[in-house]
Subunit: 136 residues, 2 copies
DNA sequence: TCCTTGTTTATAATTATTCTAAAGAAGATT
DNA sequence: AATCTTCTTTAGAATAATTATAAACAAGGA
């Protein structure tokens, strides 16, 4: 069980004051057993449904972006009209069920080590992400 | 050198009549030494610059989508406000230079074999794509 | 040539995202 | 607690990518 104090800490670390709206967003994001994938719109609706209080869309965008910048959320590279985020920020990969448009986590140990045998001068590797598309 | 006849064939295979505009788009897409990455907007401008004739944006969208559906173009999963396509439809991966927002091909043999040790009942793997983000 | 069907185009509509500016809340200082 | 400054929320406007529309036009077959 994540405490409210932890949310406040996360917010302060992200240079955000702990307001009621932002703590509600934290409840939806971090107060759950399993990590999950979401779009801004999903989150916007979940906050309303789960906390019973509404928040403006702009606040959701701002808060999510601040958390992403700080590393509390991970952006999932996928071709979609909407941007997907993940509360699981550890190094891991994804299945994408093309038919159902659903994301499924793929633990890092579920994917063998990935060797990148090419380098670009002056650049270093920041991250390596695998997207496995699924079909029936 | 790719011939006009091949473009016509590609178009017919995609259930598109070989019109002047579409052949111009083919010239830009397929009549080059190296494969390349582009957004719809890039292509829209390249057609104008390289063929000297303009084409409507809607035609570019329609043609690209038909080619993508048929498998003549590959969509690159990347978090960007615009959708990126690739004329290289073989199984391969990408570097993404985050700072310069530039894509670089990564041949399949530049990445060691990728073992997916998890499976989803009723689903099979359609593709496995690696995105390597680069920083300075 | 005529006819049917598919295409192009400019423009409108839609959708995701970002911006703006005014009203309100947080935190520090006294 | 009163006050002050700075940050935040919010609704709505602005922007940008993409998709839909409908009228003028072109392709291909009879």
């Amino acid at each position: 069980m994540t405490s409210k104090q932890e949310f406040i800490e996360k917010l302060r670390n992200s240079s955000l004051r702990p307001t009621k709206q932002r703590i509600n967003i934290c409840e939806v994001l971090f107060n759950r057993d399993k990590t999950f994938h979401f779009t801004i719109n999903d989150l916007f609706n979940l906050v309303k449904d789960e906390t019973g209080e509404k928040v403006s869309l702009a606040t959701v965008y701002n808060t999510v972006h601040a958390f992403h910048k700080k590393g509390y959320l991970k952006e999932i590279p996928i071709n979609s009209n909407q941007t997907y985020f993940d509360t699981n920020v550890t190094d891991h990969h994804h299945f994408f069920d093309v038919k159902e448009e659903k994301l499924i986590d793929l633990k890092n140990e579920d994917v063998g080590p990935i060797e990148i045998q090419k380098s670009i001068p002056g650049k270093k590797i920041k991250s390596v992400e695998v997207l496995v598309k699924l079909e029936d």
